[in-house]
Symmetry: C3
Subunit: 162 residues, 3 copies
């Protein structure tokens, strides 16, 4: 049997529209029979952080960064026209109107379709996030570093940096 | 005859500098004999929207989003140092001084050189843009979804997400 | 002997977190035996500009753009939570705490490991930066245009646009 073609997506951004684009492509790739990995780093870690995860980190600075930078897929904002939340609220309404899944729903869909969600260990430290499995949603399969990402990318037909 | 190598560029950003980078690479790729597709999504849709396109969408929310987020290549701004338009104006002056084409000129050049310009149907809805050919400039060849983009990317030598 | 696999990274962004991601991947790729090129364009040129480079450009507009947009790896800021410098300062503290190299250190490491640092000539003009070797740090190997970048990308196993 032929091996599956791989699609690897690095998600550095925590902007709502970039997170949506990443999941649209991941889920579409999986539905086309590709083997998909998503690698979350820097602000992208917020997308897959548990909502209640903000109090576990050690040290004042980490705590502060963690409170300012609370995770959770529901808190993502647009990079433009956020307008104190109005623009983001409007896009979320339009997502519902046009039957586009929310990020929460996309995470569940991705998991169901075999997309591997991986948290970047190398950047947890500077984001003030404990590099432990418990920090992240249950859908996250593993934590790994930059070498793992490049290893996947080398074997991939398509690699995207979002 | 050997098949042409493909270059596929996804343009999610609507920032002036990212739009310029995308067109520079598209036009350069075409001049090197590559077969180039550009796939515009989210804010990138603004780059290829008709200027007069803002009143055709249905529903109050779409109308509002469309007015705030007016399209047209001339309205693109820098992501930094926009400074109420001063920074963007300065870069546009420097573009003229250094004989760099404007986005309008780049769109015409790209079309002339056989670059395919494609609007993403999947994200028209959440951007409040009618997913119809008339919404976009005449240079836009077609509208297509995420599966089309990934299909192109799979066959491409180089895929860029900008 | 088998040829080395290539990794080509375009760095358009001048945000601290994107610069860090680019260097992490470049250095990791080199340590995995890949042949790595980094191609700096638009705001990315700031990362490799000399600190004292701001007074050499000609013309009032270039001088102004150059003063507003002073280069140097130490001046990079986060794209979010900069908060008049507080967020960036905090991330830099966390970088030290977790033994992550600074951008200055990453540039030296990259050079030592054979990563090629290349400045984009095509965009120097619009950034108000003299397209000369002296504008950039000594670690920068050469200046080249978009065609050079695409030539490298065509031969690369992995190409990232950051």
């Amino acid at each position: 049997m032929a091996e599956k073609e791989k699609l690897t997506i690095a998600v550095l951004s925590g902007d709502l529209e970039r997170a949506l684009a990443a999941f649209m492509l991941a889920v579409t790739g999986a539905s086309m029979g590709m083997e998909v990995s998503m690698f979350f780093t820097f602000w992208g870690l917020n997308i897959i952080k548990r909502n209640e995860g903000s109090l576990q980190s050690k040290g004042l600075m980490r705590k502060m960064l963690n409170i300012m930078n609370r995770g959770g897929a529901k808190r993502l904002k647009l990079s433009r026209f956020n307008m104190l939340g109005l623009g983001t609220w409007m896009m979320k309404r339009l997502m519902k109107d046009t039957n586009m899944p929310s990020i929460d729903e996309y995470i569940a869909m991705a998991k169901d379709m075999g997309v591997k969600l991986i948290a970047c260990t190398t950047t947890c430290g500077v984001m003030g996030i404990p590099p432990e499995k418990d920090t992240f949603r249950s859908e996250v399969e593993s934590l790994a570093g930059a070498a793992y990402f490049l290893g996947e990318a080398r074997e991939s037909k398509v690699t995207l940096f979002i």
